[in-house]
Symmetry: C2
Subunit: 369 residues, 2 copies
């Protein structure tokens, strides 16, 4: 029997580590910022997929949690989290039945829609419950999902109000490309343009006498800008709790570095082989998401450069590293992209300094359905 894990170095690698001090500081900075500006905070759970984290965010003031998918929302609801907003349309008969089951357990869950067919399907399936709350997804230049803002959105809103068992609550207003637009001024221009379209659509709907209490959107990259816009009611950032290399590079105001949040998430690996100038670690494609064009960056090992070396291996060039690196040494890395990296692991090791304070299951890992 292995000894119980108590300290950072007891955790079998590769593993996800969370620095709790930094995590809590990130949460507190975001919540203060939004509270001061009178915006609601519905952080995106697709980043962490971890009910324990969702609960901590609610305790810090979040009105609930966004999820990308129905199956994530089912997991969160099963752990008692309410105020769920599923940011992608739920499509197909079997999933729509599950959506109704979910609304029975968690009646304030908001479902995003973008077509008459989907609205009608939801309304028909909801016969056995009082009804479903729906948010209209508007396409803010991103060209991925959502209906065009303005007149098409108004037409679909009218359609929603005519269906018996769906209740229109507002607009899902996420411009995915704005989140990582750099530098800051370009990001400001992009997200302001997008969010103002969403707000204009809100006003158009309200002029018809239809209440539109919710305009939900924004991201870790744009929350500062979006939260200054009148008519945007809530912000749904995800990555700020962890941060990653991608968000580290987007830049802050006045061409500064982006320092709003601290890097709280790392992946720990172990050196399993050495050869001249190279240390081979036990972390490859199955330890880090590979969707970004940059490799993980070693922490506290200046000069070291990671390169992918297969599913289970990384090759670290240590020819410019000042100290000796031995087999058995543990090296931590900043992941290129946090969300899909977290999705590779079953748990997050929450550390206070070097002490393991908790091990949190990533209960919605793999729940992409």
């Amino acid at each position: 029997m292995p000894a119980p894990m108590r300290f950072r170095d007891d955790i079998p690698s590769p593993a996800l580590l969370l620095d709790l001090d930094r995590f809590e500081s990130n949460v507190s900075r975001m919540t203060s910022h939004l509270r001061e500006r009178g915006k609601a905070f519905r952080p995106h759970g697709k980043t962490h997929k971890c009910p324990e984290i969702a609960k901590r965010l609610v305790a810090a003031g979040a009105v609930g949690a966004c999820t990308a998918r129905l199956s994530e929302a089912e997991v969160f609801a099963g752990h008692g989290i309410r105020g769920l907003l599923i940011t992608t349309a739920v499509v197909g008969g079997a999933k729509i039945d599950r959506a109704v089951d979910l609304a029975q357990v968690a009646p304030d869950t908001i479902f995003c829609v973008e077509s008459e067919r989907n609205v009608r399907d939801l309304s028909e399936a909801a016969a056995r419950i009082p009804g479903l709350e729906v948010n209209l997804a508007v396409d803010l230049h991103f060209g991925r999902t959502g209906i065009s803002p303005g007149a098409p959105a108004l037409d679909l809103t009218r359609f929603i109000t005519r269906q018996p068992r769906v209740r229109f609550v507002g607009l899902q207003s996420y411009d995915g490309a704005a989140a990582h637009t750099a530098p800051f001024d370009a990001r400001r221009a992009r997200t302001s343009g997008s969010m103002k379209q969403a707000v204009a659509t809100r006003r158009l709907i309200e002029r018809e006498g239809i209440a539109c209490p919710l305009v939900s959107g924004g991201s870790t990259g744009t929350y500062r800008i979006d939260s200054e816009i009148d008519g945007v009611t809530e912000i749904q950032p995800g990555s700020f709790i962890f941060m990653d290399m991608e968000y580290g590079q987007i830049g802050g105001p006045d061409n500064t570095e982006y320092r709003d949040f601290d890097q709280a998430l790392t992946v720990v690996a172990t050196v399993i082989s050495r050869r001249p100038g190279l240390a081979i670690v036990d972390a490859g494609y199955k330890a880090f998401a590979t969707d970004r064009p940059f490799a993980p960056v070693p922490v506290d090992l200046p000069g070291a450069v990671y390169a992918w070396a297969g599913d289970e291996h990384g090759r670290i060039d240590i020819s410019n590293v000042d100290r000796d690196v031995k087999v058995g040494d543990r090296i931590e890395f900043v992941p290129p992209h946090c969300d899909p990296t977290v999705n590779l692991y079953d748990q997050i090791h929450a550390l206070r300094g070097n002490v393991i304070e908790a091990v949190w299951p990533i209960a919605a890992r793999g729940k992409s359905q």
Copy 2:
């Protein structure tokens, strides 16, 4: 309650599908080929991480299963699979204790080593059991893990034979870069050179009077070539059971396509949004591994081109597709790289035609430790 899943179209997307006829045909082709050439077959479990598949491979004639990691081997052993070979060194005190626990349950497990320190650690930790079987990992031009073949390997072999509780069984001889070398003639040259070095090392060791019953290596790309080499005793291919785009492109003999195995694995996605010329599906970075420089390829939808559109979305250009594509349509894809794609899912849906014959847990998913 959703209806029980019976058919292909009942499976919530995104999901992994396995065509059982093709899978069985792939297994039968590989086992016949190796049986006829007198080579043992120890397929690599890192590909599937699925005990049900490992059992089927053993039933078809495999002597056991390779695993990349200790934690995978623990899962397989817990499901009754024996003849395990862990192809990466187990490093660090806590993991070495677990290795001994594993050998208590599955005494024929083979551990790969490449340093005196690791051999000594294993021998010392094995005090409470009869001993451990160790395979010496040799570095065949790949420059990742393993000791140099020839004299360094012989020296370490002698060291192993002097330790009380480890038993030398042979050579782990995997040249990772050979597997995907294209075209076939270049692959033949590369793997032949590598495997002949392994065999020469075997002969060197045997001339010292040390038995070296095992030379284990090879891959889906090189099994044909490696299995013709005298002195190579067993082949450890992984991907042939599933196949993927990467292996589909390596080419066969005489510059033909690589047709040794059929594409048995697909990912099914659903169209969740439509706009002119584009279908948006519910499968992105969390549904397909992204480590290869090519995107998933739609099956049975000629002209369609997939592009990544985030963690949970893909954007399919359908402007050259002849038929209508509607919201709710299901599209299957060949994954770029099977191993890390399988690692994203909790289960494999095994299909006989359109009927779900079984749902197999990917029990070692995420077990990269």
